[in-house]
Structures are given as structure tokens and as C-alpha cells.
């Protein structure tokens, strides 16, 4: 697993957990967790190629649009819900957060930090919508319709009375650099949160 956020999540998830991976892509995370940590669970995905890749590697994948919610899952249906790089593409991220912490007591969420300094340079100095490794799309065709920052997400968690168990930054190759640890909202390219019910 190369993606920095996936490596970190891999370490955070306890042995033998039953999890849901929302927008699981090609099933990389679930396959690695099943192999290394005896983790079971389901991935939800709508991308046809992702779904086929999951089936080919034996990862349980369900074709399901996250914007339609998680009503088909019972309260506390699993131990943990993971959502990597998808929250910003949902119609109502706040409602999804509620749903995630209904079906599990704990959630791990990663998203591109809009306040990352390169993004600020794009917008604040050059006057263009940011385009970067974590936000590769142009403004007109981006699926990312609800961009936010470390600060925004923390605010939302506070408003909802959620507990932030862990907060990490992913900046690709420079993950863990002291500047991004000290000032994540400025130097963290990817926000990684572990939250639980209050």
C-alpha cells in the first residue's frame, strides 16, 4: 500500500475487526487488512472498474451509492467505518458522518485539506482554484463538491459532540514532517481523523 493515508489506517485498525469501507475503490485496503489482520467486512463502491477489481481479488464489495445513505445497515452493524478521500464528494458530508457513527462506534475519515499551503497559494495569491496532487481536477469537472479544512472538520465534530481520537496529516512523501505536525491546517495535504461517538 503506497498511499500514506492507507498505511496509517492499516495500523489503526484492530486485529479481527469487522469494518465497512465506504468508497473502497479497488479493495486494496480491505484485501491488505484481511491478509494482515484478519479483518472482515464489506466495501461500498459505485465505480464499475473498482467493483470488478474487488470481486477479482475476493474482497466483498457492494454496489451502493453513498449519497443514498446507509439505511440498509443496522445500528452498530460493525466495529469501525472507514472512508478515504470520499467525504468531500458527497452531497451531505455532515449527514454521512452521522450515519457512519450510527453503524459503528468509531470512524476513520481522510480528505484533502483545502487549507494546505499550496492550495492557499493557488487561490490566495494566484487567484485560481487550487489544483494539486490531492485535488487533481479542474473546477468544472471536480467530483469534490464539499471541500473543507482541518479546522472545518474539527468544528463539525465539536458541533456534533464527537470525540476526535486521533488526528494525523498525510503529505505524501513528507508525511510526519515537523512543520505539518505543528501546523497541520497549513502544511498537511491530507487530513486523517479518527473520531468516535461522544
Amino acid at each position: 500500500m503506497k498511499r500514506a493515508d492507507l498505511t496509517l489506517i492499516h495500523d489503526w485498525i484492530p486485529e479481527g475487526a469487522h469494518i465497512l469501507d465506504l468508497a473502497c475503490g479497488d479493495g486494496t485496503l480491505l484485501a491488505a487488512l484481511a491478509r494482515d489482520k484478519n479483518v472482515s467486512g464489506y466495501g461500498l463502491e459505485i465505480d464499475p472498474d473498482g467493483i470488478t477489481a474487488c470481486i477479482a481479488r475476493g474482497v466483498n464489495v457492494i454496489e451502493q451509492n453513498l449519497d443514498e445513505g446507509l439505511a440498509n445497515f443496522d445500528d452498530d452493524a460493525c466495529d469501525l467505518v472507514v472512508m478515504t478521500q470520499a467525504l468531500q464528494a458527497l452531497r451531505r458530508p455532515d449527514r454521512m458522518l452521522d450515519e457512519m457513527l450510527r453503524v459503528a462506534g468509531e470512524a476513520i475519515i481522510t480528505f484533502p485539506n483545502f487549507a494546505y499551503w499550496r492550495h492557499r497559494v493557488h487561490l490566495g495569491i494566484r487567484g485560481y482554484m487550487p489544483v494539486s496532487k490531492s485535488l487533481p481536477h479542474a473546477w468544472y469537472d471536480t467530483p469534490n463538491i464539499h471541500l473543507s479544512t482541518f479546522n472545518d472538520f474539527e468544528q463539525l465534530c465539536r458541533d456534533k459532540g464527537l470525540i476526535i481520537v486521533d488526528r494525523e496529516v498525510g503529505i505524501g512523501d513528507h508525511e510526519g514532517h515537523w512543520t505539518s505536525r505543528l501546523w497541520p491546517n497549513l502544511f498537511g495535504e491530507i487530513a486523517i481523523f479518527r473520531v468516535s461517538r461522544g
Binding site: 464489506y42 477479482a56 475476493g58 440498509n72
Partner: protein, 385 residues
């Protein structure tokens, strides 16, 4: 002699297995002896681990792939998915496809002779259930020396048999492919079946099912039944694209002969079917559909009903299928997840309605092939037998 396509299993010959051990049926009656006609494609490996069972739908039969002779116009009904290099790759898997009991293509059914009476069984042939079929299929597996199927796969009514396999013989099925199916019929599904049955039973040539002894065939009833059924197999879009409001001639005739192309098509389908299918078989198969509901004995709790299942499932639905729409597959998928079973689900974009499960469609084929290649890998079948 015309040449057969290279990805065809080629010319196949049906075989018949005779069984003398009585089969107790859900209806309370017993079949003392019976025949099952079946075909096989590919080679059973030395470990006998590469067998795949195909379960057929309402009007299906054992001829799922290949040709009965080189002059046969159309290949078997699932030829799009069974053959060398196809989703169910016969270079890797040994495929078994049978005609279910009560059928009219060679297995014991209403057109067979009842040894007790010396007459044709006719309407006296016992009512079959999906459970009975699966029981008889397991006996065929015994006969072929197959202890455990690498996969049991079926579409529509065939998918229900797959589900039943997972519940009745969890140790004998390694993977389940449930395609365009449902865990139970809806009131609307049963209603359509009842219209089909009434069409047959009210045909003056039906003679309470003893039409053969009267030298008759209830063709009009069968034709109507098939016409109604056929409408439910296609989507509104597919029908619209295929026929629209096209007329056979330039203008209206202001009469009741065929005017619209869709009428011509339905009548043709109905006629063809009524000349090749047995009415008592059709009645019995629709009842088997109606009766299937594994959750019923668990107070309607499908997740509880699924508890015995051990194998991973692949569930596939098609967007324009309104006979067994995606929501019915979702019902099964949600119950499987609730029961903690391994399951993957794909909802394939298709314009073909329920019939989509029979057709080649790139995404459907990709999903199907991914599932089968994962099975081959898990069973170490990468090296072709």
C-alpha cells in the same frame, strides 16, 4: 457443414441418469424412480474440485451451451457465458447443466409415462419445489462423483435454486452465483404467473391437463401465457427501441390482425413456445416460483434463514429488470450482510430488462469473469486440467 465458433464448447450430446432411489417431495408425495437428462462441458479434474452446476430458469433446460449438431441454428441458452475463454471457462471448469424434474426436455416430468398407471403423468405429476429440485441435483452430483461444486450458478428461477443449494447443502457448494433473482416472488410476480396459468387452464383444449390423451395441445393458452411472460422479461425501453410503434404495413388496417410490429413479435414468440413446451410443465414451474420463500419458516426473517450458508455469494441484478428488479437483489444482499456472510453485489446497466441475464454485456461479463477467475485461483485451477 458450417464451422462452429472457436469459443464454443462444440457439439455436445445430452446424457441421461436413471435413479431408482425414491425421492420424497415437499408436497408429501414420492417419486419412486426418475430420469435426469444433463449435459457436461469441459473436463472434471482428478481432485474433482472444478465442477460448476448451472441451474435453469422457468422455460430453460439442460442445453446451456454448444450445439447438438453442427447444423443447429442456435447454441444453448447460456452460450454467451459458457465456453473456452468465456466467463465460465470450460478450459478450467467442468460444467454440469441438467433439465429439472417436471421439465419437458427429457427429465422425468408430465410428458413421461407414469409406471404405476401406465398412462402419461400429465396433470398428475407431483408438484415440485425448488427444494425438491436441489435435492435431485445433489443426487446427480453424487452420481457424477462430485462431492462439492466449485460454484453453483443460475439466473432468475435458477438463482433461487442456487440460494437453496447454499441453505440445504452448505458443505457441497464453494461459491454461489445468484443472478437476476429474488428471495421470494412479490404479489405482482405471482399475479402475472396466475394470469399465465389461467390462460392455459381455460383453453378448451386443456382438458384438465389430460390434453395428450385427447390428442390435443392447449396452444392458445400456452401462447397467451408466453406472451404475458415475455412482456415481463423485456424492459419498456427495450421494447420501445426494438419496435416503437412501427407498423407492418404503411397504414392502419382498422382490424384485429397483426398491425404493430410488437404484436407480430409477441405472437411469433407465443407460437414458437406453444409448439415446443409442455403446458403442464409450464404450470408446475410457475408454482415452484410462487412457493419459493426460504424466509417464511423463519417468520419472514431472511437473514436468519440464511444462517446455514457458508459460501461466498455473488449477486447480480440489471437496472431495467422489472420482473425481479435490483431492489429484490438488494433485499438478498442486505440480508446476507446482516447474517455476516461473504457477498459481492453488482447492479449492471442494461436496457434488456430481465432477459439481460442471458445476454453478453461487457460489464456483466467482466464481473462474472472476475468472480470465476477468483474461484479458479482459490481452488488452484490456474493450471488447466
Amino acid at each position: 457443414m458450417p464451422e462452429l465458433p472457436r469459443d464454443s464448447v462444440g457439439v455436445v450430446t445430452p446424457q441421461t441418469a436413471h435413479f431408482d432411489d425414491p425421492l420424497d417431495l415437499a408436497c408429501g408425495r414420492t417419486l419412486q424412480a426418475y430420469d435426469l437428462v444433463y449435459e457436461t462441458y469441459g473436463t472434471l479434474n482428478a481432485e474433482r474440485s472444478n465442477a460448476v452446476l448451472i441451474c435453469h430458469a422457468l422455460s430453460g433446460h439442460h442445453h446451456a451451451a454448444g450445439y447438438h449438431d453442427a447444423d443447429e441454428r442456435k447454441p444453448g441458452w447460456w452460450d454467451a457465458h459458457i465456453g473456452p475463454g468465456k466467463s465460465i471457462d470450460t478450459d478450467r471448469f467442468f460444467v454440469v447443466s441438467l433439465n429439472n424434474l417436471g421439465g419437458c426436455h427429457g427429465s422425468t416430468g408430465p410428458i413421461s409415462r407414469n409406471p404405476e398407471s401406465g398412462r402419461q403423468w400429465g396433470p398428475d405429476f407431483p408438484m415440485m419445489t425448488v427444494g425438491d429440485w436441489v435435492h435431485s441435483q445433489a443426487r446427480l452430483a453424487d452420481r457424477l462423483g462430485i462431492e462439492r461444486f466449485a460454484a453453483v450458478i443460475g439466473g432468475s428461477l435458477g438463482g433461487m435454486q442456487v440460494l437453496q443449494w447454499a441453505l440445504a447443502y452448505p458443505e457441497r457448494i464453494a461459491n454461489a452465483g445468484v443472478i437476476a433473482a429474488t428471495p421470494k416472488l412479490s404479489a405482482q410476480n405471482i399475479a402475472f404467473n396466475e394470469v399465465a396459468r389461467q390462460a392455459i387452464r381455460s383453453d378448451p383444449d386443456f382438458h384438465d391437463g389430460w390434453y395428450a390423451e385427447h390428442g390435443k395441445v392447449p396452444r392458445r393458452g400456452l401462447k397467451l401465457a408466453r406472451m404475458v411472460g415475455h412482456i415481463t422479461y423485456l424492459s419498456e425501453d427495450a421494447m420501445g427501441h426494438k419496435f416503437g410503434r412501427d407498423l407492418r404495413s404503411d397504414d392502419f388496417n382498422f382490424g384485429y390482425d397483426v398491425e404493430f410490429q410488437v404484436e407480430s413479435y409477441l405472437r411469433y414468440q407465443g407460437d414458437t413456445f406453444s409448439n415446443s413446451f409442455d403446458a403442464n410443465t409450464y404450470l408446475l414451474m410457475t408454482k415452484a416460483l410462487d412457493y419459493f420463500d426460504p424466509a417464511a419458516v423463519h417468520g419472514g426473517d431472511l437473514a436468519r434463514a440464511l444462517a446455514p450458508a457458508e459460501c461466498p455469494f455473488l449477486v447480480v441484478s440489471f437496472t431495467t429488470d422489472w420482473r425481479f428488479p435490483p431492489s429484490r437483489s438488494r433485499e438478498l444482499v442486505d440480508a446476507l450482510m446482516r447474517a455476516g456472510k461473504a457477498v459481492s453485489y453488482a447492479n449492471i446497466d442494461s436496457t434488456h430488462g430481465h432477459d439481460a441475464f442471458l445476454m453478453p454485456e461487457p460489464r456483466y461479463q467482466a464481473v462474472f469473469a472476475a468472480f470465476m477467475s477468483r474461484i479458479a485461483r482459490d481452488l488452484g485451477l490456474e493450471d488447466r486440467p
